[in-house]
Amino acid sequence: MRRRIPVLTSATLITALVATAVVAGTAGVASAHGDSGDDRGRAKNVIYLLGDGMGRTHVTAARERFYGSDGKLTMETLPAQGYVSTYAVEKLSGQPGSKDFHPNPVTDSASAATAWSSGVKTYNAALGIDATGTVKPTVMELAKKAGLRTGNVSTAEITDATPAGQMSHALARGCQGPVYSDAACQDLSITGTALPTSDIRVTPIADQIARNGTADVILGGGLSRFDAADEKALKDQGYSVLGSPTSQTVATKSDLAAASGQKVFGLFNRGNLTIEKSKQDNPTSVQAKEPTLPEMTSKAIALLTSKSNSKDKSASKGFYLQVEGALIDKRSHANDAAQTLGEMKAFDDSVKIAKDFAAKDGNTLVIVTADHECAGFNIIEKGTFTNAEATAPPANVDSGNTANNSSPSRPNNAKDATRSTGIINGAGSADPKNFAPATFRIPSDPAGVVDGSPEAGLWLTYLSGNHTGADVPVYAYGPGSEQLDGTIDNTALFGIVGKALRVIR
């Protein structure tokens, strides 16, 4: 006999099935909002490392220099790899796709920082606003609001464009402080008339950083941007202030090593931090007491994951940490390859610290990229020379083949003795008008080959002293890192990081 299903049982079944379907559907909605459920691309922590001015050649040159042609920097070992387009826009431009979109092929650090911090294109010099001056929230602000811990580390002044891009909103990056000035802070081409000085967009960046609490851990340079009122404001929010803005006493690596707590503010130089090569060459100098970028990175991670006591659950929500190797750019502006390479090494050592943490943690997304390329860094073949050293560009005449003759017509090129007076970090170092390359020994060079010699295997040149518009590399590790494979625009980094941390949809 076939078993019958009672009416009551049927109703119960219907109710249960409907309830199950609704619950499942609701879960789908929550997932779409990033609140729970689908964890694809999600991570508990994000460490975002930024090599300011680091182009593809910076990476290759550092690899050749420190690990040899068959070696790899740590960043190159990360599984996801791609490129990032970096262009900016003109003032008052619309966003890409709009009719009033006016791109600028070469970005500065402020526009680039705004792109990944706030997800919008803006004009060079703008921070945390779009190209029309509208304030845009940053990933770090959103992370802080969501209860995550936050950290911002840089070898530049902490008010400089890259760190400031996460912690401030300014019409002009020059409005760094310690004081307000019309010329540095206002931009009438954006606002028409001067904004009241109470407007956040013309408030000195140092004043913003000291009072908005966006970053729990703030490590870098730029103490001279801050004053006694800033120190009081920081302490009132519970920061442990290393050194003293009031007395302009810089913090030291010993201060950093001893620091504890969840909110730490430490600036180790009145300006930018000292380049690594200088500290290594002068180990007894005052500047040698500054921490390295790897030391600041390691300490920042420790502080952001620390618990004040066994019941402290604030660390369980995760953290967002930005780390900038700023001096790669600043020494590229100077066309100083030796210092540039030293800064690349320190930056890559910081990447290793982040990667090691992520590997142990298992739920941390590490992203390594740059804001723009700086100075057209290049590797030329040993024994060759650049156009800047030449009497004329390469030959463009071949009388036996008319197809190769075009305009302009150039019969030959040769090294110009007045423009190339010896390896720039060797025999030609005293000539300020010398365009010759800098040379460095690489691990495969024979013993006795030294930097600055023609025998050294790595020949490095610069195109200019300014930024270029080349795409920059990106490397990533951890949950969601596959989104960094291929080529993306720098504004996409905002969404990738924000969604990984569940702070944006």
Partner: protein
Amino acid sequence: MKRTRPIVAIALAAAAVLVAGSIAVGVAVMARTDAAAPPPTDAVTTTLPGLAAASGAPELASIRLLRPKPGEVGQAAGPFDERFTVDDLAFDGKAVSGALRVTSDVSAVLDLEIIAGFYDAGGSVIGSARFVYHATDDGPVDPVTGTPVESIPFRVAVPTELAGRAVSTSIGVPVLVNE
């Protein structure tokens, strides 16, 4: 009891599941189309408690601490003194001039402000004036030749109302930003 009742119940259940599932999926799809929604702006701190809004141009209290002798040009302490040198500093009674060269960085100077304090024969401050530089695409240029230069030439004239009374001066830098 007719045998058809269980079949009807099961059919009703299946239909209900389909309807509920469709609604849920529809809502979910709507939510996904909302993925580009702008992030909340209330995460931005736009007011800073305890911070007084700036008023007026930046000043340097250190200018009042100096008492340069007639004809002298003093250098008033400011927050960025270790970042620059001043070449060709001179005062001719009508203006103080020179060229500021940043030594801490080689990237472009974005903003520079130089305050010149003027003093009477007794060494008391009688007024001030300023030189303001804000970067343009062209960068700093020599005011005479118009050619680009790495240092920034400056000239601060004695204000008209101080003419004849200003016998010495001092300069200081409250604003300096490099790219």
